[in-house]
């Protein structure tokens, strides 16, 4: 996030796109609702009628995958009506002329027909955003989980720059991170192209800094991104994989492809707190600790580094993640893995990264600090780009519309959208009896019209099939989703949604298009009693026992 969560309360307009905030980031969501209660205006752009959409001043239920034309259309209107911030653009941006050329073609009428949003609504949204100073953009995976995810993000940046919304409090561009420490894992460079603090593997000077720090030579080869790893495993060049605290078999798209990749490898290590679906493919499983059993730090979406504190002992012989890794490294003869506490590692992180350099465990205390925080007397940074952009001028990038990888068709006529639900968080929360009791199973959301046509009622079972797999799920009938679409989550291994999703990726980040897949839905008949199903049994096996 360029700005901070609590700035939401004093914004005059919230521009929420591709984010079901009240379920995916509940406390940020309630702050948005509090703001709206006190008169802040709300624009929600989402194909589903989410809780925020229902209370929005303007809800634009766009056709899935048409974010770029929509944003280009808004910019077209803004420029036509002269609402852009010329002085800001001149002073802080480049690429304006090229951007103008591209958005010229996105007339309101064309955009209306591409997105399904009437011209008047587009105009209203464009005017409201352009003319409200304290207006922040908020987005989540509904923007990034598309084959054009990077372009979607750049489009939003264009919009914010065009109207001078970056570099001020109560504004900015605010990606809400999906998991507790996505921000931190990126900062630490759990990334194939980066070294800690966003230094680049490809840059010899950057490598030299770390070679000096770590006293060894570093590879300049470009590393593999996750989907490339699975492809490399299947073509035989990748032989081994070490998986720490992730469950790609459940959470990555086209799960059947992922499973084959794990089967193909010679040696797989999984470090986990529960027996995950991925762990079933392991040769060695290490029992790890959960957050309540260790010391350390997480970095929240607003770049705030906060302490995690050990409250209880780990179960059995489970060990803290980094101690396991460090021990293997030492066993392999590597140098520089001799820390005795998480604080010692943090000291090395500080040495490695200027943006964390001013932080110590003591300074973090109970309030944390927001990076960049370069020196020990620096108060941290609530919002970025206050005095201009560190890269000089911010680039506006002309972006054109890309069709989704898998549009619906005659055989697969239903659009599958995936996401999260309030009560669960990926798969881990299934092990909390309390949370699992609130929502014990997948309930795929379906519009009443479609339900009627398929003869499905609340709680009935449906089979959902894509070109890649087939799962069975209960359905819930609701007008939150539009006719012709189905919403499912990734939480339940009884109905593993990611066997359906498509492994089509954004070319830059290789993020998958989780938000759009073509499926076919049909009613399933069984006569079992739902209350008698064992947890974690695949529903497909119940309705159609495997040979």
């Amino acid at each position: 996030m360029t700005n901070s969560v609590n700035e939401i309360l004093d914004e005059d307009l919230l521009f929420v796109i591709g984010s079901n905030t009240t379920e995916a980031h509940p406390v940020i969501g309630i702050k948005m609702k509090q703001a709206v209660r006190h008169g802040t205006k709300l624009i929600v752009i989402d194909p589903r009628r989410t809780e925020l959409a229902a209370m929005a001043d303007l809800w634009l239920p766009l056709r899935s995958g048409t974010d770029i034309p929509l944003i280009n259309g808004l910019m077209h209107i803004i420029v036509k009506e002269g609402l852009q911030d010329e002085a800001y653009i001149r002073e802080r941006c480049e690429g304006y002329e090229e951007l103008l050329k591209t958005i010229e073609a996105y007339t309101p009428e064309r955009v209306a027909s591409l997105t399904g949003i009437p011209v008047e609504k587009l105009q209203e949204a464009a005017r409201l955003y352009a003319t409200t100073k304290k207006a922040g953009i908020f987005y989540t995976l509904g923007i990034t989980e598309h084959i054009c995810g990077t372009d979607n993000v750049k489009s939003l940046a264009n919009l914010a720059l065009l109207t001078g919304h970056v570099g001020f409090p109560n504004a900015g561009i605010n990606p809400l991170r999906g998991q507790n420490n996505v921000q931190g894992a990126c900062d630490m460079a759990a990334l194939p192209t980066d070294l800690p603090g966003y230094k680049k593997v490809a840059n010899p000077e950057h490598r030299a800094f770390f070679e000096e720090l770590w006293g060894c030579s570093l590879s300049s080869d470009k590393g593999l991104m996750i989907p490339e790893m699975f492809d490399a495993a299947l073509d035989g060049t990748l032989k081994a994989m070490y998986v720490m605290g992730e469950d790609p078999v459940m959470s990555d798209p086209n799960a059947n492809h992922v499973k084959k990749a794990f089967e193909a490898m010679e040696f797989v290590v999984v470090q986990e707190i529960f027996m995950s679906e991925t762990a079933r493919f392991a040769d060695v499983i290490f029992p790890a600790t959960c957050y309540a059993e260790k010391d350390g730090t997480f970095t929240a979406s607003e770049r705030r580094v906060q302490r995690v504190r050990k409250a209880v002992e780990p179960p059995g012989e489970a060990r803290v993640d980094w101690t396991i890794i460090a021990r293997i490294a030492r066993e392999m003869g590597a140098k520089g893995f001799d820390w005795t506490s998480s604080e010692e590692i943090f000291e090395e992180i500080r040495a490695a990264m200027p943006m964390y350099r001013g932080m110590t465990y003591e300074r973090l205390g109970t309030t944390g600090l927001q990076w960049p925080c370069p020196t020990e007397d620096h108060p941290g940074t609530p919002y970025l780009h206050k005095d201009g952009f560190s890269i000089g001028k911010a680039k506006m990038t002309p972006i054109d519309h890309v069709e989704p990888a898998e549009p619906v068709c005659k055989d697969y006529p239903t659009l599958l959208i995936t996401g999260r639900r309030l009560e669960h968080y990926n798969v881990m929360t299934r092990f909390s009896p309390t949370l699992d009791a609130i929502v014990p199973c997948e309930m795929a959301e379906m519009n009443p019209e479609d339900a009627r046509e398929l003869g499905l009622a609340e709680g009935d079972l449906a089979r959902v099939t894509s070109r890649r797999g087939s799962v069975v799920t209960r359905v819930t009938v609701t007008d939150k989703v539009k006719p012709g679409s189905l919403f499912m989550t990734l939480h339940f291994k009884e109905s593993p949604t990611n066997e359906l999703t498509i492994d089509a990726y954004d070319p830059v980040t290789l993020t998958a298009e989780y938000k759009i897949a073509a499926v076919q839905v049909e009613k399933v008949k069984t006569d079992y009693d739902p209350s008698e199903i064992d947890r974690f049994v695949r529903l497909t096996e119940l309705v159609e026992p495997q040979e």
Binding site: R177, W214, S219, A232, A282, I285, P287, A292, D321
Partner: protein, 354 residues
């Protein structure tokens, strides 16, 4: 900057910004004016009347939770008259309240109990008028006992003003009034987000967090930490039972920088997964298609040997690692260093982008 206003409370002089209520001004000089329905994050309700104070020059008592400070004001918070008045109020409330304090889950955290103790109110002189409404405990997170409700309306305001869900409200009028859900339905997922913020707000035992049932507050140690779920970054206290060494549940922390006392259902109620019997407890090694328990030494040595062999045979790029956006910064830093320094490649990624 708002203008500063000077006033005197119980003889102590205090300066606060214009627009401050008396109750907050008093807190600044260490005076806690008794109350049952006040919360600085919520709009004033002035329902319990416990916070009535005397203001010099005015015969009428005023509610400290909603009366704004004025320049030169002189406030008295503990006169004979006020103490008598408060005793009578407590006497009245107790007359409508069950007297099962010995076994009440709220013991130690009950505002009513605390005030009765402070004002020496042992029992009510009025005949008991406790209703006999059924418990609502069909949901997984809370027990709602309307018989204990003192109608302070804090839960109603939290749900309306902070959670902005409006799941509960006042129903009926006068002595017959209750605080309940629409149509008096039991708490359920379709209209309540189970954030538990109303439970924290409740000053008595009318709303109870199920996870704390059976534990007394003095058996608990609090450890401040950061939520392991979404990227919001809420902080809260893990409550550890010092006898069993287990986490009992979560309480919100007023001074949490991002969320204050606000939490969602996941953050507040997830902790029973920590001690799940399904946790992995020993290293496991696959042998003939089955997992068997192994010692740490064996599992570490096997892993180091196999990785070294594969790198020797197929080169450094034949190994890859998936790090985790759920693990700490320290874990991630060590993991990527392991890939780069020990395995000599850059094949490290995580599901960050999802």
């Amino acid at each position: 900057m708002p203008k500063l206003v000077k006033l005197i409370i119980d003889g102590k002089s205090v300066e606060v910004p214009e627009g401050t209520v008396i109750i907050e001004a008093a807190r600044k000089v260490g005076i806690e004016i008794p109350n049952l329905c006040y919360d600085k994050h919520l709009t004033a309700f002035s329902g319990c009347r416990m916070c009535l104070v005397e203001v010099e020059g005015s015969k009428k008592l005023v509610t400290a939770c909603s009366t704004l400070v004025r320049e030169g004001m002189s406030v008295k918070t503990r006169t004979e008259r006020l103490i008598r008045y408060r005793r009578e109020l407590l006497n009245l409330i107790l007359g409508n309240h069950p007297q099962d304090c010995l076994t009440c889950e709220k013991v130690g955290n009950c505002k009513l109990q605390e005030l009765c103790y402070e004002y020496g109110v042992k029992e009510s002189t009025y005949p008991s008028l406790v209703p006999n409404l059924p418990l609502d405990d069909a949901n997984p997170v809370m027990i709602r006992d309307q018989n204990k409700c003192i109608k302070c309306g804090k839960c109603v305001r939290v749900c309306r003003e902070i959670q902005v869900t409006n799941a509960i409200d006042f129903a009926g009028r006068g002595v017959e009034s209750t605080v309940t859900t629409a149509f008096d339905r039991p708490i359920a997922r379709d209209f309540c987000r189970m954030c538990g913020q109303c439970i924290t707000a409740c000053p008595v035992g009318a709303l109870t967090n199920k996870q704390f049932v059976g534990t007394r507050p003095w058996e608990l140690k609090k450890v401040r930490t950061t939520c392991p779920f979404c990227g919001t970054g809420c902080n809260f206290d893990l409550n550890v039972n010092i006898k069993t060494g287990h986490v009992v549940g979560v309480t919100a922390a007023e001074d949490a920088p991002i969320n204050g006392t606000q939490l969602c259902v996941k953050g507040r109620f997830h902790t029973d997964l920590i001690h799940s019997p399904d946790r992995l407890k020993h290293p496991l090694i696959r042998e003939n298609g089955k997992f068997r328990e192994a010692s740490w030494d064996e599992a570490i040595q096997l892993t180091a040997r196999r990785l070294s062999e594969i790198v020797a045979r197929h080169g450094p790029n034949s190994v890859a690692g998936l790090s985790s956006a759920r693990c700490t910064n320290e874990d991630n830093f060590v993991f990527q260093k392991f890939m780069r320094v020990a395995l000599k490649n850059n094949n490290v990624d995580h599901c960050a982008r999802t």
